[in-house]
Symmetry: C2
Subunit: 558 residues, 2 copies
């Protein structure tokens, strides 16, 4: 190899992999030692594009932010998610530049080469979403000046307009002037050999969290053995947001029904595409989870708009219409939405939403079956806290599946499981396990309720202080906490009292964290599910857990 | 007795008590049987004023609402909390009439004879607070028309002005025209005999939740043996709200210090008055619990105000000042405040608030000690989730106590305990118990997080549906749920592993619920704490739990 020592330091992951494989080939160490020597987190940098060395030498740094999501990216500046989509359709490479991002920007982020934000830390929306997508991101570049109106960003002394080229290094936080050539990562060679070794030494499954065919393909590429979590709410954004708004806000049953029919069509298309990608690998689809008011306009902005209209003497009919809309939105607002009307509770209060989603899933599976394509969807019911509500919604789900079977004259075998993401579900897991075909531990929500920590609020507000003062050993949203682990243990134990072979997995952020994966192995979980770019890391960590375990530690290989 | 059968049906509680005591005196049943025959909830009506029978016959019903809080009340109509306070100072009896009530109305509600609201159900602010105060309340009288501007309320065909007399029956929901004479309840006689019997057969302590000397006196009157929960945030309302706002919003350390000094003075006065009332009975004082933004202006109202000022071209300096205030408030707002910066987390982020409160408590105790009055305050740290944060704040609390001891040259022995109100605290109770002198289970918060139910949101939004569809057996905020009970059991067990004689009590709403009290007895709790008007009910339920228990059921009498 022509790489000097400097490159080894810069790319520790590549060096780690190469040295270990060289020693294996020289018979100096054995396979298990190779696996033990791997530091899973260092694999991350091997999965992303890097800058061409020669090109980088000539490049000039014009701004600096946080290394929010690794990789290298080069593209033309755009300032909105819509522009990112439009330019991308014309086969342009774009860098999305925003003051900060919100869920509205998701689709724009997905098509961009990279994302640059002016505000936001390592756990800001942009950073978290970009890491999940494996997309290069530099966040919190506080010195740059973004002007949406003029479509410009000032960096140093230079003003960049829409279409100007810039480049980002998400591993260092550097922003470069102009185009810098990038090279795709190599996933075979030594890296591939390490992944093969991991597969040899563990049967713990690694699945992925994926909401789009693109994510699913990426994760399959990295060796994911199925989808552990498909979040259907992400399918209700973009232009479909208006449809779901129509459903929520309409008084008229006809308007409601029309919206439901449109959503059914759209969802069925989504599921078809994703099921096709996954083939015979299982795909766990979670029924709608978030509070419905997340799909509605922001009531404060609307109230301000009304105040302005009134003060400027606008048309009375317009004002009265907006007032009515505001009253409707207000009637759905919640003081603590995370603990409100969401998950299975939506299914109880709006059964038509469950019907719609189950019909879409079953119909997609049936249609593919008729084309000769076998697929393996599973339906997951979120936020269960009592056995009775699971029984009720489970019956409803099964009735819809049966209905599709009859209509389409097919036989569909779809498992119906639940998330264990509330302390009560873990504590009552024996009762709940009697009516669940599988458990998936949702550690994001379970950590929120076990600690009483709202993730949105505390990650910036006081978790940094708590970590600095050593009041928390680690961020419990990143690494499974010992208190939360007790609930996972109780959940697994109760579930398997009801059904000894119950499949138990995890689909929270901790599902891709190496230390947590060791704990999950010892707790006896069958699989972990994580974002696509965490899959190789999780596969390695699962193999390490297996070879370092004394005895079987309660783990069930399936 | 001259009472006819009709009255017996109307006042079942009185009949129940009288018949049982008659049978005891006639040697037909024994003492334990008397206690077993009591239905604790029926005692409630014996604790409140009733209408004079003759006067009631002549009275005319003019409106009807929900029987939100039992008892009879007669007074002159007022339309604001401020007017209620002003009229009450002039020794007038008033009925506070509101469209609905908010925490701002607390002091007005406290001085009124009764409360009538146009909107709100059995769990509205008015209803819950009135029941806690033992104050007569009719809520949700939807047909009445309240006009704050004109200070009138229309009921039926008649318009009542400020100062007109009306009467309320909070046990039936009837509103009467004019003054109807009321009679105070008799708490001795047969009722007193039952309470003496209860005391004879249990050593489980019944304490009270009280935030004012008035509540404390009422609860002592009903036999409460101490204060299990004094919520200090209620002492920051009224004219003191401005002081705490100054503390929160000021940049200037001098302004902050001045606010803290004012709060210290005010708090010390509060604690002095309450400690004097309780004498040698213990008084558990909980450090500040709610998010600080609860003390600030509503950001949406402020945003609307700014929009109006801008649209009407108001003074730029005023607008800019308000914009700055709004930005400040926004920076403190939280998506899910119930799971945010509150409880002990406030103590970590704003240590000066803990110092202030502990100084006020210790100084009040020291000053009373110098007057020869022995008192027994205990300090309770809320919302603990990790051992490390309890250690940190406990050290800080002890340092402040020591400082006051030195300054005032006294010896103060003040226990420092914690609330167990998050699943993690219950799960890690052994570790937490090592640094707590006592545990108090806060079942309101513990139920919220165990179920993932925001009480503010779900009690009206879907709990009624869940109860109707039998997806919940009971409202878990009223009666201890079996899942939450598992965490209480784990909490007691862990705490007593650390300290075998650890005092464990409960101070949530369920602390006054007879079924829950039976469960708490079996879980081995030393005391329950409830609102003053639940004290007699809790005393009876505790005695019933003891005489119906097989063996000792893990209960520790202290």
């Amino acid at each position: 190899t022509s790489r000097g020592l400097g490159d080894v330091y810069k790319r520790q992951g590549a060096a780690m992999v190469k040295i270990a494989m060289d020693l294996l080939r020289a018979d100096v160490i054995d396979e298990k030692t190779v696996l033990r020597r791997m530091e899973p987190q260092k694999l991350d940098e091997l999965l992303h594009p890097v800058f061409d060395k020669a090109a980088l030498k000539r490049a000039q740094v014009v701004a600096k932010g946080l290394p929010a999501s690794p990789g290298a990216a080069s593209g033309q500046v755009v300032f909105s998610a819509e522009d990112a989509e439009a330019w991308s359709e014309k086969k342009r490479k774009v860098i999305l530049v925003r003051i900060e991002t919100s869920p509205e920007d998701l689709r724009g982020m997905a098509v961009a080469q990279g994302i640059l934000t002016m505000r936001g830390g390592m756990t800001s929306h942009a950073a978290v979403v970009a890491r999940g997508m494996g997309k290069c991101c530099v966040s919190g570049a506080g010195e740059i000046q973004v002007d949406y109106k003029e479509k410009t960003v000032k960096m140093g002394d230079k003003v960049y307009h829409e279409g100007d080229w810039i480049s980002l290094n998400g591993s260092t936080g550097d922003v470069y002037d102009g185009e810098v050539k990038t090279a795709e990562p190599e996933l075979d060679g030594d890296f591939g050999a390490i992944m093969d070794l991991a597969a040899k030494y563990t049967k713990t499954l690694v699945r992925t969290n994926a909401d789009t065919p693109r994510d699913a393909i990426q994760a399959r590429h990295f060796g994911a053995q199925g989808i552990g979590l498909c979040r259907t709410e992400h399918m209700f954004l973009g232009e479909r947001k208006q449809i779901i708004q129509n459903f929520i806000l309409a008084d008229d049953q006809e308007v409601k029904d029309k919206a439901l029919a449109e959503l059914l069509d759209a969802q069925q298309g989504d599921f078809c595409a994703m099921l096709k990608t996954m083939g015979e690998h299982p795909m766990i689809i979670r029924l709608l989870d978030p509070p419905l008011h997340e799909f509605l306009d922001n009531p404060r902005e609307l109230a301000v708009e009304i105040a302005k209209l009134e003060a400027t003497g606008a048309d009375a009919a317009t004002i009265s219409q907006k007032r009515e809309l505001l009253a409707r939105i207000d009637s759905m607002s919640e003081a603590n939405p995370m603990l409100g009307l969401r998950g299975i509770r939506l299914g109880i209060m709006y059964p038509e939403l469950v019907d719609l989603q189950v019909q879409a899933i079953a119909s997609a599976m049936a249609d593919l079956q008729k084309e000769g394509i076998t697929t393996h969807p599973e339906i997951m019911i979120p936020l269960v806290s009592t056995q009775a509500e699971l029984i009720a919604v489970r019956e409803q789900v099964q009735a819809q599946i049966d209905k599709v079977c009859e209509q389409k004259n097919v036989k569909l075998d779809i498992e119906i499981g639940t998330m264990i993401e509330l302390p009560r579900a873990a504590l009552m897991s024996k009762e709940i396990g009697e009516y669940a075909d599988f458990f998936s531990f949702g550690t994001n929500d379970l950590t929120q309720t076990t600690f009483g920590f709202s993730r949105d609020d505390v990650e910036s507000a006081f978790i940094p202080t708590y970590l600095r003062k050593k009041l928390l050993k680690t961020n419990p949203f990143e690494t499974l906490d010992e208190g939360v682990a007790k609930l996972v243990a109780a959940g697994v134990e109760g579930g398997r009292e009801a059904k000894p072979n119950l499949t138990c997995g995890v689909c929270g952020e901790t599902g891709g964290d190496p230390d947590s994966i060791h704990m999950y192995y010892n707790l006896g979980l069958n699989y972990v599910s994580c974002s696509p770019y965490r899959v190789p890391i999780a596969r390695l960590a699962a193999a390490q857990a297996k070879i370092s375990a004394k005895g079987n530690a309660g783990h069930q290989d399936k």
